[in-house]
C-alpha cells in the first residue's frame, strides 16, 4: 500500500488460493460437462438430442410442470403469507412454524408418503375402491403437481411474508387518505412493492421444480421429464453415454441460468423498500371470518404435516413385502433395519459431518474475503461460489463424476466424492448466510479494536468471530440438515456399500418396500429435527434470521 512496488498482501494470497481451489472443484467440473457434450471422437450429444423428439418433449414437459407447480404453489403461499402477516386467527402459531416443515421433510419422503396414501397400493386409494370409486392414477401429472406444490409453497410463503412484513403500512394509509379504497390501495400500492419478492421466490420454485429429482423420478411414470432423462442417461445400465448426459445436464443448467438471470433483472429493477416506517398490526379476525381463514390455513397445515404422520404410522405397521397391513402395529421393521442394515445411517452421519465441517469453514473464510477483505479477485470468488445455484443436483453429480473419475484427482468410488457433492451443492447458501452476517457487523467494530492496540488478525478473532458464532451455529445446522437429506447428486456419484439414508429410501420405494423405507425415513427426519430443536430451543438461535 506504500510506494508503487508493494508485495501482495496476505489476504490477496489467500484469495488467490481460494480462487484456485473453488475454480478446480466448482468451475472446472462444469466446464468439463459442457465440453463433454460435444463428444470425444463419437457423436455430439447435441446432435443426438436434436435428432430424438423425446428430448424435446421432455424439455417442454419439464417447463409445463415447473410453470404449473409455481402457479399452484403461489396460490397457496401468497394468500397464506398475507393472512399470517395481517390477521390474527385461530391456529396462527402453527402457520408461523411452516418454514420448518420444508427443512424437516426431505422431498423423497414427501413423495413416498403421498404414494402411501394415494398410490396404487395407497390407503386412500384402496378405501375408495372398496367404496366402489375408481380414483385416477396418482402417477403422472396429477401426482407430480400435487406433491411438488405442497413441497414448494413454503418458499413462496417465506419470501412473500418477509416482503409483506417489511412493508411500510404508512404507504397504504397514504393511498387511502388520497381517496383509494382499502382493496384498491392494496392492489395499486402494496402489490407493486411486494411483487418482486413474490416473483423472485416463484422463480426459485421454478428452478427447484426443473431440477427436482426425487419426486419426478418416483411419480413421473410415463411422462418424459428432463431431470429424469438426465439421470437415466447417467446411470443407464446399457452403459452411460457421456456426451448425451452432459448435453442434457448443459441444457438444464442453461435453462436455470436463464431464469436466475431474469430473477436478478427483476430484483435490480425494483427499488426495494427498506424496513423504515411503521409495521402493520395484525387484525384479530373473529367469528365466521376467523373460522374460515383458520380452517383453510389449517387444511394447508394438515396436508403439509401429513407426510410426518404417515411416516410414523408406516414405520410401525406390519408389512409383508410391499403389502402394508394397516392397523397391525409392530416394532419388527425398526428392529430389522437397526440390526441388519444400519450402514446407510452410519454413512449419512459420517459424510454429512465431514461436509458440514469443511463446508462451514470454507464458506466462512470465503465470505470474510468477499465482504471484509475486498480486492480485485474477490468479485470473481463471489461469482464462482454462487455458480452451483444454477446447477441441479443431478448435473452437479454428473459433472463431479466426469471430472474426478480419473486423471489428476481420482475420487470415483470413494466417500470423498459424495462429501464433495454435498459441499458443492450447499456452498452458495453457506456463503450467502455467512456474508449476510458479516455485512451486519460494521467494519468500525474491528477498527475500534485495532485502534485500541490489538493487531488486525487478533482483532478479528477477538471481536468479529464471537459475533458470528450464533450465525455459524445456525449455518451449521442448516448445512447438516440439507446435506443429510441430499439425494440427487449423491445418487449419481455413490458406489455400492456407500448408500446414504436418502439413497436407501429411494431404492426401497423403487422396490415398493414402504415399511422399511418409512423406518429409514423416520431416522432421517429425526436426524434433521433433533439438531434443529437443540439449536432453537436450548441455544436460542434464530435459524431464519440470516436468510436461507
Amino acid at each position: 500500500m506504500k510506494g508503487p512496488f508493494k508485495a501482495p498482501s496476505i489476504w490477496f494470497v489467500i484469495s488467490l488460493a481460494c480462487l484456485l481451489i473453488l475454480g478446480f472443484f466448482l468451475l472446472y467440473p462444469l466446464v468439463t460437462v459442457f465440453l463433454g457434450s460435444f463428444g470425444r471422437g463419437g457423436a455430439s450429444g447435441w446432435a443426438m438430442v436434436f435428432a430424438e423428439p423425446k428430448y424435446g418433449r421432455a424439455i417442454i414437459n419439464s417447463l409445463i410442470l415447473a410453470l404449473s407447480v409455481t402457479g399452484f404453489a403461489s396460490l397457496i403461499g401468497v394468500p397464506l403469507a398475507w393472512c399470517s402477516a395481517r390477521y390474527d386467527f385461530p391456529g396462527k402459531v402453527i402457520v408461523s412454524m411452516l418454514p420448518l416443515i420444508t427443512l424437516v421433510i426431505p422431498e423423497v419422503i414427501s413423495a413416498q408418503t403421498w404414494l402411501m396414501l394415494l398410490g396404487n397400493n395407497g390407503v386412500i386409494t384402496q378405501w375408495l375402491s372398496r367404496q366402489g370409486f375408481n380414483p385416477p392414477s396418482f402417477y403422472g401429472w396429477f401426482g407430480l403437481i400435487t406433491v411438488m406444490s405442497f413441497t414448494y409453497y413454503t418458499y413462496i410463503y417465506i419470501g412473500t411474508l418477509a416482503a409483506i412484513r417489511g412493508f411500510d403500512i404508512q404507504l397504504e394509509e397514504a393511498a387511502q387518505s388520497l381517496g383509494t379504497s382499502p382493496l384498491l390501495s392494496r392492489i395499486r400500492v402494496v402489490l407493486p412493492i411486494v411483487l418482486p419478492s413474490i416473483l423472485s421466490s416463484a422463480l426459485l420454485v421454478f428452478t427447484l421444480v426443473l431440477g427436482n429429482f426425487a419426486v419426478a423420478m418416483i411419480l413421473s411414470h410415463k411422462i418424459e421429464l428432463l431431470s429424469v432423462m438426465t439421470y437415466q442417461a447417467a446411470v443407464s445400465e446399457s452403459g452411460s453415454d457421456p456426451a448425451l448426459q452432459s448435453t442434457l445436464a448443459s441444457i438444464s443448467i442453461a435453462i436455470v441460468m436463464l431464469v436466475l438471470f431474469a430473477q436478478r433483472h427483476i430484483l435490480s429493477g425494483s427499488r426495494r423498500e427498506t424496513t423504515q416506517g411503521r409495521k402493520a398490526v395484525a387484525v384479530r379476525l373473529t367469528q365466521w371470518r376467523g373460522a374460515l381463514i383458520g380452517l383453510l390455513a389449517g387444511l394447508v397445515i394438515v396436508i403439509s404435516l401429513m407426510p410426518l404422520a404417515v411416516l410414523i404410522a408406516g414405520a410401525f405397521t406390519r408389512a409383508r413385502g410391499p403389502v402394508m397391513r394397516w392397523g397391525e402395529w409392530t416394532f419388527a421393521n425398526i428392529e430389522r433395519v437397526l440390526n441388519n442394515a444400519p450402514d446407510p445411517l452410519i454413512n449419512s452421519l459420517v459424510y454429512s459431518l465431514w461436509a458440514t465441517v469443511i463446508g462451514i469453514v470454507a464458506s466462512t473464510l470465503i465470505s470474510y474475503l468477499i465482504v471484509k477483505k475486498r480486492n480485485s479477485l474477490t468479485p470473481l470468488l463471489d461469482y464462482i461460489a454462487m455458480l452451483p445455484l444454477a446447477v441441479s443436483g443431478t448435473a452437479i453429480g454428473i459433472s463431479l463424476l466426469m471430472t474426478f473419475n480419473s486423471g489428476m484427482v481420482s475420487m470415483s468410488g470413494t466417500a470423498g466424492i459424495i462429501i464433495l457433492a454435498y459441499i458443492v451443492r450447499r456452498f452458495p447458501l453457506g456463503v450467502r448466510n455467512a456474508s449476510s452476517t458479516l455485512y451486519n457487523i460494521h467494519d468500525s467494530i474491528e477498527e475500534a479494536s485495532v485502534s485500541l492496540g490489538v493487531p488486525p488478525f487478533r482483532s478479528f478473532l477477538n471481536v468479529v468471530l464471537p459475533l458470528m458464532v450464533p450465525a455459524i451455529m445456525a449455518a451449521t445446522v442448516l448445512t447438516w440438515t440439507t446435506t443429510v437429506a441430499e439425494l440427487s447428486a449423491s445418487i449419481i456419484v455413490y458406489s455400492g456399500g456407500r448408500e446414504t439414508l436418502p439413497i436407501q429410501i429411494f431404492r426401497l420405494i423403487d422396490s415398493g418396500l414402504m415399511a422399511q423405507a418409512s423406518v429409514y425415513g423416520l431416522i432421517l427426519v429425526l436426524m434433521i429435527i433433533l439438531p434443529i430443536l437443540a439449536i432453537t430451543r436450548i441455544m436460542k438461535v434464530d435459524l431464519f434470521s440470516q436468510g436461507r
Binding site: E447, A448, V450, S451, V454, P455
Partner: protein, 355 residues
C-alpha cells in the same frame, strides 16, 4: 503531542481525495475538521488513524513519521460515529479492552476502568451491555474506552451526530471538559458548524479535499477568507463583484457593486476578479431612510418569519439579488411584506472574500 502533515496525499478508488495537505496541530489543541459530507474530512481522520493509507507525504506525531506504522501501533484513541461498541461485551469489558491489549492485569485495570466510568458519569453501569444503554450513554462508553488507554491523540468522527439536539449540547460541554482535563491533542470531525465553533481551539474548514482556512472559531466566523467558509460557517449574504479589476490589499476599500459604489473592508490579500462581498444577516439593519451607516441599498421585503428572539426577513435588491436579514428587538415590528426600505450596513460588516 503535536501533529503535522507534510504534503500529504490520500487517494480513494484511484482518485485523490486529499492533495498536498500541509498542516500543524499544536500539543493539547482541540482541532476540528469542519466541512460538508464528502469533503474528505473523514478520509483524513482515517489516514491519521492508520485505516486509510496515504499515497505520499509525511504524517508526524511529535517528531516521528508514523506513515508506515500500522494502526494498532499508533497509540490513538478513536471515537467512531456509530460508537462501534462491542455488542457482546459489558460496559466494563468494552472500556477494559484496550488495557487488556496493553497487558494490564485484571486487578490493575479494574480501578482504572471504574474511575474512567465515574469520570464520564457512568457510575454503576459497568455491568450493562451496549444494547441496554441510551444513545448518550453509549457515546460516553465509547469516549471512556478511547480515553482510558491515555492515548497521545484522540480522534472523533462525528461522535455527536447520532444524538438528539438536547443531548448533543450536553455531550458537547462534557467532551470539552474531559479533553481540557486530559490535555490530549484532539482531532474532531463534524459537519455541524455550531459544534465546531463551540468546541474548538482551532478549526480547519475543508472543501473538496482542501483546507480552505484554519483559524480560531472567532477568526473563522469574523474574518472568513473565502465565500465557501463564510457561507458554511454561520450563513452569509454574498454579492459577486464583477467589475473588480485590481488586486485588493488588507484594509478599507471602495468597491464597485452592480448597485453602485460600496465601502468595504478586507482582512486578506485578494486577487482581482476573484472577490465577492459578504455581509452577515445579523449585520444588516432595515430602515425607512438611508440612516447613518456607511452603506445603504434600496430593497423590498419578500418574506417575514417571526422566531421569538429574532425575526428573519427575506429581502430583494433592485438587481434581483436576494438577501436574508436577522433583526432582534421590536423597532421593526411594523415592517410588512412588499414594503420598500433601505438595507444599511457598516464598512466593517461588508467584508471582501475570495469567491
Amino acid at each position: 503531542m503535536s501533529i503535522a502533515f507534510e504534503q500529504l496525499t490520500v487517494a480513494f478508488n484511484h482518485k485523490a481525495v486529499i492533495e498536498d495537505l500541509s498542516l500543524v496541530i499544536p500539543q493539547g489543541c482541540f482541532f476540528t475538521l469542519l466541512g460538508p459530507s464528502g469533503c474528505g474530512k473523514t478520509t483524513l481522520l482515517r489516514t491519521i488513524a492508520g485505516f486509510t493509507p496515504a499515497e505520499k507525504g509525511r504524517l508526524l506525531f511529535g517528531n516521528k513519521d508514523v506513515i508506515a506504522l500500522p494502526a494498532h501501533q499508533r497509540d490513538i484513541g478513536m471515537v467512531f460515529q456509530d460508537y462501534a461498541l462491542f455488542p457482546d461485551r459489558s460496559v466494563f469489558d468494552n472500556v477494559a479492552y484496550g488495557l487488556i491489549a496493553r497487558g494490564w492485569s485484571r486487578e490493575r485495570l479494574r480501578p482504572a476502568v471504574l474511575a474512567m466510568l465515574d469520570h464520564v458519569s457512568l457510575t454503576g453501569l459497568h455491568d450493562r451491555f451496549p444494547a441496554a444503554l441510551s444513545g448518550g450513554q453509549r457515546q460516553r462508553v465509547a469516549l471512556a474506552r478511547a480515553l482510558v488507554i491515555k492515548p497521545q491523540l484522540l480522534l472523533m468522527d462525528e461522535p455527536l451526530s447520532n444524538l438528539d439536539t438536547k443531548l448533543r449540547i450536553q455531550m458537547r460541554s462534557s467532551i470539552c471538559k474531559l479533553q481540557k482535563e486530559a490535555g490530549i491533542t484532539t482531532i474532531f470531525v463534524t459537519h455541524d458548524q455550531e459544534e465546531a465553533l463551540a468546541l474548538s481551539d482551532l478549526i480547519g474548514v475543508m472543501n473538496n479535499g482542501k483546507i480552505e482556512q484554519i483559524g480560531s472559531p472567532q477568526d473563522i466566523y469574523q474574518t472568513p477568507r473565502t465565500a465557501f467558509v463564510a457561507n458554511f460557517v454561520g450563513g452569509a449574504n454574498l454579492m459577486p463583484l464583477p467589475e473588480l479589476s485590481s488586486p485588493i490589499g488588507q484594509g478599507y476599500a471602495q468597491v464597485q457593486s452592480p448597485l453602485g459604489p460600496l465601502k468595504a473592508f478586507s482582512y486578506h490579500q485578494l486577487e482581482a476578479h476573484h472577490a465577492c462581498l459578504m455581509i452577515r444577516p445579523e449585520d444588516i439593519n432595515l430602515s425607512l431612510d438611508t440612516g447613518l451607516q456607511a452603506n445603504h441599498l434600496p430593497c423590498r421585503i419578500m418574506g417575514k418569519h417571526y422566531l421569538g428572539s429574532k425575526t428573519h426577513y427575506d429581502i430583494i435588491l433592485p438587481d434581483g439579488t436576494e438577501m436574508v436579514v436577522h433583526l432582534s428587538g421590536q423597532a421593526h415590528e411594523q415592517f410588512g411584506i412588499d414594503q420598500s426600505l433601505f438595507a444599511c450596513f457598516e464598512v466593517e460588516s461588508a467584508l471582501l472574500v475570495r469567491a
